[in-house]
C-alpha cells in the first residue's frame, strides 16, 4: 500500500478496499478507493477475480461449442451472447436463417433484456437501501425465467442459439405465456416508477450524480443504456440491425443528462420499448424451419470476422480470426461491462461513497462479463 497522502487542506487521505467481497460490487470486483473523509479521490478497479480465460478456451472449441461458454460471460444476457456467436458463424458462412428463427431470436433477446433490466432494477433499489424492490423485481423476473425454461430447458444459461438456427422449436405454450406475462408486466412496471423513479429520496440521490458527458461516453466506449443516457446513439439494433430488428418499430432511447438518474431512466424506458417489440412480434411468428441446413463440422473460411449485438449492457462484439480449421485461431470478446467499468473512476471522483454505489449500480456491471 502506498503511503497515505496529506491533501491541501491538511486532511489525510486513506485507502479503503471495497471488495472483492462487498455487498454492492455484486461479485468479485475489487475497488481500491482513495478517500478524503467520505469524498472519493480515486477509484482503482482491480479485476480478474473470476477470470476463466473464456477467450483462450474458445480457441480449442468448435464454433458450436463456443456458444455455451458465452452463456457464462454476461449471464444475464445469455441469449444475446449466444446470438452474437451464432450470427458471426452464419454471416461468415453466408447462411440465411429462416424468418421464424429471426423472430424467435428477437423475442427471446427482448425477454432476456427485460429479465436483465428487472434484475438490475431490483439490485439498484437494494444498493440504495430499499431492499423490497429486489423481491418485487424477482417476482416479475420469475415469469420470464419460467417461459425460458419451458422453451429452452434452462433458466439462466440457455444455450438456445446454435449456428444456423435455434436448438428447439418454441413450446406450444410460448405465445400464450408471453402474452400473459406482457399483460401482467404492463401493470407491474408502473409500480417500479412509484417505488423508485418518483421517490424523492431516490431522485435526490441520483440526479446530477456521476455525470458522463457525450464526449466521454464516446471516448471511453460506454455503450448500452449507460451510453445512450449521455446521448450516444449506440444502439446496435438501430445502427446495424440483425435478426428481426429491421422489421419492428421501436425508439432508440436517448437522453442527454448523462447522470445516474438518466441511466436509470434509460433502462426503465427500454423496458417499455422491449415490451412494445415483443408485442409487435408475438402475434405473427412466421412458420418455417428452426434450423438451416448445416454441415456437422462447421469450418469458417480463412479470415477475420466481427459481429456485434446489443446486449442488455451494451454492445457485445465478437472478433474471430479463423485459419480455416474447425476451431478458431483467436477469439476476442468486446464485452460492454469492461468498457463501462473503465469510466467509473472518471465519473465518481469528488462524489461520496454512497454515490459510488449508485453510480456502479447504474452502470449495471456484471463481473464475469468484465473478466471473461
Amino acid at each position: 500500500m502506498q503511503a497515505e497522502l496529506i491533501s491541501k487542506d491538511g486532511t489525510q487521505e486513506y485507502f479503503v478496499n471495497m471488495g472483492p467481497q462487498h455487498p454492492s460490487t455484486h461479485g468479485v470486483l475489487r475497488l481500491v478507493l482513495t478517500l478524503d473523509g467520505e469524498i472519493i479521490k480515486r477509484v482503482e478497479p482491480h479485476i480478474g477475480y473470476v477470470h476463466r480465460s473464456i477467450e483462450k478456451m474458445a480457441e480449442f472449441d468448435t464454433y458450436k461449442q463456443i456458444i455455451h461458454l458465452t452463456d457464462r460471460m454476461d449471464y444475464l444476457s445469455a441469449h444475446m451472447n449466444n446470438e452474437a456467436v451464432a450470427l458471426l458463424v452464419e454471416n461468415a458462412l453466408e447462411i440465411e436463417v429462416s424468418d421464424r428463427v429471426k423472430v424467435i431470436r428477437t423475442i427471446m433477446s427482448e425477454l432476456t433484456r427485460l429479465a436483465s433490466h428487472q434484475l438490475w432494477w431490483g439490485v439498484m433499489g437494494m444498493d440504495m437501501g430499499a431492499i423490497t424492490t429486489f423481491l418485487y423485481a424477482f417476482r416479475d423476473r420469475e415469469m420470464i425465467n419460467d417461459i425460458m425454461e419451458e422453451t429452452t430447458g434452462a433458466r439462466l444459461t440457455m444455450n438456445y442459439n446454435t449456428p444456423g438456427g435455434v436448438m428447439f422449436d418454441l413450446h406450444p405454450n410460448f405465445q400464450k405465456q408471453v402474452k400473459e406475462f406482457i399483460k401482467i408486466f404492463k401493470t407491474k412496471l408502473p409500480e417500479y416508477d412509484e417505488l423508485l423513479s418518483g421517490n424523492i429520496i431516490f431522485t435526490e440521490r441520483t440526479k446530477g450524480i456521476g455525470k458522463l458527458s457525450l464526449a466521454d461516453a464516446i471516448s471511453f466506449g460506454v455503450t448500452g443504456p449507460s451510453g445512450r443516457a449521455s446521448g450516444f446513439a449506440c444502439d446496435v439494433r438501430k445502427t446495424n440491425p440483425y435478426s428481426a430488428y429491421d422489421r419492428v418499430n421501436f425508439t432508440e432511447i436517448l437522453l442527454v443528462e448523462g447522470d445516474a438518474y438518466a441511466r436509470y431512466k434509460a433502462r426503465i424506458f427500454e423496458m417499455w420499448e422491449s415490451i412494445s417489440i415483443i408485442d409487435q412480434l408475438i402475434d405473427n411468428i412466421p412458420e418455417g424451419v428452426i434450423m438451416a441446413p448445416m454441415k456437422a463440422i462447421v469450418k469458417l473460411p480463412k479470415g477475420e470476422f466481427y459481429q456485434r449485438v446489443e446486449t442488455a449492457r451494451g454492445e457485445l462484439g465478437v472478433f474471430v480470426v479463423s485459419d480455416g480449421n474447425k476451431t478458431p485461431y483467436r477469439v476476442k470478446f468486446r464485452s460492454p461491462g469492461f468498457s463501462n467499468l473503465s469510466v467509473l473512476d472518471h465519473i465518481s471522483r469528488g462524489h461520496k461513497i454512497a454515490d459510488l454505489v449508485a453510480i456502479m449500480s447504474t452502470l449495471d456491471l456484471v463481473i464475469p462479463d468484465i473478466d471473461r
Binding site: S213, L214, G231, E252, L254, V256, Y261, A262, R349
Partner: protein, 200 residues
C-alpha cells in the same frame, strides 16, 4: 443506604477522574471522563434534584462527551499513546492539585454550615421555569437572556471561523464537459436529431 450509594458514586468519580488525567490513550481518557460525568449526575439524582441531573446528562454526558470523542476522532495522533509526562512536570502538577485540594478542604472544614431559614424551594421544572423568566425577586431573566445572547454570539463566531472560502469539494475532478445544455427535470427520451440539435 443512601450513604453507601454516595460512597460508591464518590469512589467512581475519584477513580475515574484520576484515570482520566493519567490515561495515556486519548480516547480512553474521554470515556473515563464520561463515567465521571455520569456519576456526577448520579449524585444529583441522589439529592433528588432530577432536573439538574438530567441537564448534566444531556449537556455533559450526551453533548460534551460526544463532542469530545467526536473531535478526538478527528485528531491525527489518535492511535499513538501520548508521551510520558516528565517527572518534574508530574511533581509540579501533583503539588498544585494537592494545594488546591487542601485549600478547598480547609475552607469547607472551617466554614460553619447552618440552615439559612429560607423556605424550601420545590425543584420542579415549573418552578425553575418561573424563576428563569422572572424579573422580580429571585428572578433570573437578565442572566438568562444575557447568556442566550452570549451563546448566540459564540455560535455565530464558530460558524465564521469554520466557514472556509467556498472551495469546490471536487476540485480535482476532471472537468466535466458542459458543452451541452442540461435540463435537469426533463429526463425524457429524445431522438437522435434532437440531441444533435442540442449539441450544436
Amino acid at each position: 443506604m443512601e450513604q453507601y450509594v454516595f460512597y460508591i458514586l464518590a469512589a467512581i468519580i475519584l477513580v475515574f477522574s484520576f484515570m482520566t488525567v493519567t490515561s495515556r490513550m486519548i480516547l480512553r481518557a474521554a470515556v473515563y471522563l464520561l463515567f465521571v460525568l455520569i456519576a456526577t449526575s448520579g449524585i444529583y439524582f441522589m439529592l433528588n434534584y432530577n432536573f439538574l441531573a438530567a441537564v448534566q446528562l444531556t449537556v455533559y454526558a450526551g453533548g460534551i462527551a460526544v463532542l469530545i470523542v467526536f473531535s478526538v476522532l478527528l485528531t491525527s495522533q489518535l492511535n499513538e499513546k501520548m508521551e510520558q509526562v516528565s517527572l518534574t512536570k508530574a511533581l509540579a502538577g501533583g503539588l498544585i492539585a494537592f494545594a488546591g485540594a487542601l485549600l478547598t478542604i480547609l475552607t469547607i472544614v472551617q466554614y460553619n454550615f447552618r440552615p439559612n431559614g429560607l423556605p424550601e424551594l420545590e425543584p420542579s421544572p415549573r418552578a425553575i421555569g418561573h424563576a428563569m423568566l422572572n424579573y422580580g425577586d429571585n428572578g433570573y431573566v437578565l442572566p438568562f437572556e444575557v447568556i442566550s445572547v452570549l451563546l448566540l454570539a459564540a455560535m455565530v463566531g464558530a460558524i465564521i471561523i469554520a466557514k472556509r472560502p467556498a472551495k469546490l469539494l471536487n476540485e480535482d475532478r476532471t472537468a466535466i464537459d458542459t458543452s451541452y445544455p442540461s435540463d435537469k427535470n426533463a429526463y425524457t427520451s429524445r431522438t437522435k436529431a434532437e440531441i444533435d440539435s442540442l449539441l450544436k
